[in-house]
């Protein structure tokens, strides 16, 4: 080790929050993009599912199949990034003491959480762009108000982020890994993503409609297929999940 001169005289202080946010969000984004398993979950599975179910007559879907599938797969993409990916990532950050150590640095928790959200939104932009391109190539013809679509995606992100952090902040990392993947799989099948909820009996359907994934996929489907406004109960369902999960996460989250 060479003796490089370093001025170690104390000059403490926190950086401006904007600089902290940029640095932390960049780190979160880089780590996510570097994580192969997360990319499988967030990018590969939704894309493959869209292509496969569009081209292969696997299930009896409303026609045109692509118009039914794109909104559901968009909802799946939001869930995979905001919920599954974020829960698993944050769970292991807790496990490795990353959050605890960041807690000794002058990084406010609000900035850390904002950075995570910025990173999630960046990934979602990439996902949505990719899925829209694949959908358009496959003959998808979207309708509706883009602002309503963005609004639904953002509210869905809020609900799934809060649920993901609730899980990551309370369970052990290994339990989070297992549970987040299980929930992903269950909601993929039961949440109106690729299979219509009308396939279920009315009693079961009314319960499933209360799931955040059902509200998001149904809301997006109504807007994008028919150009109408998303049903109020879908907005309300997402808002209630977001609010309840956020309060629960804020109360129970353990940083170490």
């Amino acid at each position: 080790m060479t003796a490089v001169p370093l001025d170690l005289t104390p000059a403490p202080g926190a950086a401006p929050r904007s600089r902290q946010l940029l640095a932390q969000a960049t780190m979160e984004l880089r780590l996510t993009l570097r994580n192969g398993e997360q990319l499988l979950l967030t990018v590969v599975i939704p894309t493959v599912l869209l292509i496969l179910l569009t081209s292969a007559p696997i299930a009896d879907l409303p026609k045109p199949r692509i118009d039914f599938l794109v909104p559901g797969v968009l909802a799946l993409a939001v869930m995979s990034t905001a919920f599954t990916g974020q829960a698993i990532g944050t769970g292991f950050e807790r496990r490795y003491g990353v959050l605890r150590r960041l807690g000794t640095a002058p990084l406010p928790r609000a900035v850390l959480l904002t950075a995570k959200t910025v990173s999630v939104l960046c990934i979602e932009v990439l996902q949505v762009a990719l899925l829209c391109v694949v959908g358009l190539i496959a003959g998808w013809s979207p309708h509706g108000n883009p602002i309503a679509v963005v609004g639904l995606l953002l509210l869905g992100t809020a609900a799934f982020s809060a649920l993901g952090l609730l899980m990551a902040g309370t369970l052990r990392a290994e339990a989070t890994l297992a549970a987040a993947n299980l929930v992903y799989l269950l909601l993929l099948v039961l949440g109106g993503v690729a299979f219509p909820l009308t396939d279920f009996s009315p009693g079961v359907r009314h319960v499933l409609e209360l799931l955040p994934i059902s509200a998001l996929s149904n809301g997006l489907r109504v807007v994008l297929r028919s150009g109408g406004g998303a049903p109020l109960h879908d907005w309300v369902t997402l808002a209630v999940w977001a609010a309840v999960a956020a309060v629960a996460a804020a109360r129970t989250f353990r940083w170490d």
Binding site: L6, T9, P10, P12, Q24, G97, V98, P106, D256
Partner: protein, 310 residues
């Protein structure tokens, strides 16, 4: 005002008392070593100072701030190096060495330059290596870099040299000494007595959650007016009186065990030569002729009843 003031600190985890009663002060521009056997309460003490845990009793002031109440203000002014180890070292496993250091630099207002700091710690070659692929020593050095990159006024280092090889250890000591010379208050925990002896200006020995001794290494080892001594082995029953005649006034010779002789007094090279010459005149060799003072190790074992672990 001391940089760190801990008084009557207490902390328990459910039924286990981690810290029963710990008080000490640490000054700016000094290295304070919290020394004790495993489980003595060292880590808990440091974690409370760093604002990572809440105390159950007592008061802690770091740079005049309460780590619990003034946490946000304090975090901008201190550096914390958590204990290493594979499970919870506090760094993203897939983040590269340079990335992590740049992140921590960006969180502070006037950080050290990242490139020279990496170079200074011998980490330039692994700048693009993910944390999980770094060797234990490299992780430990990067961890040290993370805690000092923000140019803190006080640093808390929990077992900073655990797992380092000899060269890495000396490099870390060198850096810690430079922090001290720059006026930083350094508080470190260690169970390595030689580390405390060589590095610390002040040593706080704790055992079972209580302070059992405080002072500089010199003050701790020269307590009770104990003087250094010379000792050697030779056949039992030598004429001690005759030896005493050739030694300077004020010397004393005893034979605490048959064949083991202890000379106390002004221990000088001449004294050693006189003892050896006196033996030689009698056709004897003064075997295992050594000087011995009470070491910090003796003090530690005496106070804690435990042998140190390397």
């Amino acid at each position: 005002m001391a940089a760190v003031e801990v008084s009557s600190l207490a902390k328990r985890y459910s039924s286990v008392v981690a810290v029963a009663d710990v008080s000490f002060r640490a000054a700016a521009g000094e290295i304070t070593a919290v020394l004790g056997p495993n489980g003595a309460g060292k880590t808990t003490t440091v974690e409370i100072c760093a604002g990572l845990r809440l105390a159950d009793g007592g008061t802690v002031r770091v740079l005049g701030l309460d780590p619990t109440r003034d946490g946000a203000a304090l975090r901008a002014r201190i550096g914390v190096m958590p204990q290493g180890g594979s499970t919870a070292s506090g760094v993203y496993p897939s983040a590269r060495a340079g990335e992590v250091l740049r992140l921590y630099a960006a969180l502070h207002a006037h950080p050290l330059p990242v490139g020279p700091l990496l170079e200074r710690l011998g980490l330039t070659a692994v700048e693009r290596t993910p944390w999980r692929r770094l060797s234990g020593g490299e992780q430990q050095r990067l961890s040290l870099a993370l805690c000092m990159v923000g140019r803190p006024e006080a640093v808390f280092l929990d077992e900073p040299t655990a797992g380092l090889d000899v060269a890495g250890r000396h490099a870390a000591w060198d850096l810690v000494n430079q922090l001290k010379e720059a006026g930083v208050a350094v508080v470190l925990t260690t169970h390595a007595i030689d580390e405390a002896e060589q590095l610390a200006d002040s040593v706080v020995i704790i055992d079972a959650g209580r302070v059992v001794a405080t002072g500089s290494p010199a003050a701790l080892t020269h307590r009770d007016g104990e003087r250094p001594r010379l000792q050697f082995d030779a056949p039992a029953g030598l004429a001690i009186g005759e030896l005493l005649v050739v030694l300077p006034a004020g010397s004393a010779v005893t034979e605490p065990e048959p064949g083991h002789y202890v000379v106390t007094g002004d221990v000088t090279p001449q004294l050693a030569a006189d003892v050896a010459a006196w033996c030689a005149q009698r056709g004897l060799i003064a075997e295992r002729l050594t000087t011995a003072a009470r070491s910090l190790e003796d003090v530690f074992v005496e106070l804690t009843g435990k042998a140190s672990t390397p």
